[in-house]
């Protein structure tokens, strides 16, 4: 039971980490696009 709970927690942490990195990548691209748009 405990190991199952730990696994769920680990899954949650890993998912959050990956989504955060992915969001970061997308926001970086958006930021670069906006910067390029403002400074053609």
């Amino acid at each position: 039971m405990l190991s199952r709970l730990r696994e769920v927690q680990e899954q949650k942490r890993l998912w959050l980490l990956v989504v955060a990195i992915c969001l970061g990548l997308n926001l970086t691209l958006v930021g670069l696009g906006v910067w390029g748009w403002l400074n053609p």
Binding site: Q11, V18, L25, N26, L32, G36
Partner: protein, 553 residues
């Protein structure tokens, strides 16, 4: 055709005719009208597709498994290599030509499935494949002879990587596991999301580093596809890519994984042969919106397009009309698992069970808890490519241990090895128990007079009788020959029990030949912990007591 296969074919046509077609048009529009940089555009599509899929997949199982699976990394590596090769190919030929040349993957798909997955193509598939090869040859002949060598190399590599990528998707283990999670429909999106995440990060990092390297060292890019640093701030490339990635690439990759698993890669690649025609259709119907001028075709292009499309249609419909002979037991069996030892393990387990069941598939299937057809399928598997599905394997092994490994084949009682381990366990736990040793009298004459078959019948009947008496934690076992043991929980054995055992065993036995025989039994009892401390001593004491009683009789 099963519902699952029908759904797979529908998804395949939808993916190729709608998603791929629109994706190519969006790519062409971004490149020609918006002037997007290819690499930055692709980078953005991957990043947003990964994010959309990750959000759609949500939290849940298979997260770590996907990241750790070698299949994910191989898929990513092949996808990136394929993209780079395709982008290089486009520099040598027109986009129409490259989209047709890419269809060489139909040929690769059929060959790979034949060689590595034992899926033999039918006549129509071979005809379709030849048509596609003819179309590709027509294009190839029209190419500048100076470029032909390079184009041929790229053509082979592009076709092979596209086909291999799809095969990896088909046999991607975390995705297969996700498909079997009926209660978690988002698992598929989660797995594909993680795959896309890895690809997008590597793709972005790789090309940013390459363009940094090129700009810092002033090296002329060895390949025209490496972007300049300022391309990474091009809003058209980025925003068009992000939109296309979220809207088209995310569902496209998700469905690609499911389709290859449902209808098999070579069939999906055959349907993919229609993508050139689909792209032309969408270019034509969306031209008032996009303002893109329609392509001009040479007669060679038209001939190649006709051949490739016709070939794709023949190969796909040939397979739809004559679908792969579905395993009657797809729920239980898988063909060509990645873990090759699974085939050997399954075959050993089934062979041993059938030997135990004296060759009866019905009995063997009942022992393993599998349908008879599954065992039949495994028996007829001459190509030795079938294995039990991983998700039911453990349950089958549990039954195998319980019903085959631990059981005496003749009497159905616990066998010697299993009995010894049970007795050891009971003594280790200091569980008080009594052991009754039983040896049949007058059994040898039955064997001598009526033969071994009759002797076996007697043993089988006694086994059945003991089994019906053994309730409430009692273990009845056959140690070998005509020797049986009875392990009773509790430190005492009542006289009634001994009388019942005597009576049960000594009751007359009617043989199949019509003869009635009677055997009697001598019993000896030993108790734990009062009489002995080890299993061997306990058995030896009970044996001695039995011998004493036998000689006293």
């Amino acid at each position: 055709m099963t519902t699952e296969q029908r759904l797979g074919w529908l998804q395949a046509f939808f993916t190729v005719l709608v998603l791929w077609g629109l994706n190519y048009v969006a790519f062409g529009y971004s490149k020609t009208v918006l002037g997007a940089n290819t690499v930055v555009f692709v980078c953005s599509t991957f990043a947003s597709a990964a994010l959309v899929l990750l959000l759609a997949g949500g939290r849940g199982p298979l997260v770590r498994e996907t990241l750790r699976s070698i299949d994910t990394w191989v898929f990513g590596f092949i996808l990136l290599t394929g993209y780079i090769l395709l982008m290089t190919l486009v520099t040598y030929v027109s986009s129409t030509e490259s989209s047709l040349l890419q269809r060489v993957s139909v040929v690769f798909g059929i060959f790979i499935s034949w060689l590595f997955f034992s899926r033999k193509p039918n006549g129509l598939q071979i005809l379709g494949m030849s048509c596609v090869a003819g179309g590709i040859t027509a294009i190839f002949m029209s190419i500048n002879p100076l470029d032909q060598g390079m184009v041929l190399l790229l053509l082979i590599l592009v076709g092979a990587t596209e086909a291999l990528r799809m095969f990896v998707a088909e046999s991607h283990r975390p995705h297969q596991a996700a498909m079997s999670l009926q209660h978690d429909p988002r698992a598929k999106a989660r797995v594909v999301g993680f795959v896309m995440f890895i690809i997008s990060v590597i793709f972005f990092a790789l090309f940013v580093l390459l363009s940094l390297f090129v700009s810092m060292n002033g090296v002329v890019a060895p390949l025209p596809l490496i972007p300049q640093l300022h391309d990474f701030t091009d809003p058209h490339s980025i925003f068009a890519g992000l939109v296309v990635g979220g809207v088209l690439v995310a569902p496209l990759r998700l469905i690609e994984f499911s389709v290859t698993a449902r209808i098999k890669t070579e069939n999906f690649l055959a349907v993919a042969g229609l993508s050139s025609l689909a792209t032309l259709f969408w270019e034509w119907s969306l031209s008032p919106l996009t303002g893109m001028s329609l392509r001009e075709f040479t007669s060679g292009d038209v001939l190649a397009l006709a051949l490739v499309t016709a070939g794709a249609v023949i190969a796909a419909f040939g397979k739809m009309k004559q679908p792969e002979k579905a395993l009657p037991s797809e729920k239980y069996l898988q063909r060509c698992p990645q873990d090759v030892s699974a085939i050997e393990d399954t075959r050993d387990l089934v062979a041993h069970t059938l030997e135990y069941a004296e060759g009866s598939t019905k009995k063997g299937a009942a022992l393993l808890g599998l349908p008879v057809e599954v065992l039949q399928e495994l028996l007829e598997d001459d190509s030795q490519s079938l294995a039990l599905q991983p998700r039911i394997y453990l349950e089958v092994v549990r039954r195998y241990r319980q019903n085959v490994v631990h059981t005496d084949a003749l009497t159905g009682l616990t066998n010697r090895a299993a009995f010894m381990s049970l007795l050891e366990g009971a003594l280790r736990r200091q569980q008080p128990c009594s052991l009754i040793y039983m040896d049949l009298n007058h059994f040898k004459p039955v064997n001598d007079r009526y033969g071994h078959k009759a002797g076996d019948e007697v043993l089988r009947t006694i086994g059945q009788r003991l089994n019906s008496l053994a309730v409430g934690g009692v273990v009845a076992a056959r140690l070998g020959g005509d020797e049986f043991v009875w392990l009773n929980p509790g430190a005492k054995v009542t006289k009634q029990l001994l009388a019942a055992l005597h009576k049960t065993i000594s009751a007359p036995i009617s043989l199949a030949s019509g003869v009635t025989v009677t055997v009697t039994v001598s019993l000896g009892v030993a108790h734990f912990p009062a009489d002995a401390q080890t299993p061997q001593d306990l058995i030896a004491l009970a044996d001695q007591a039995m011998y004493h009683n036998k000689t006293a009789d």
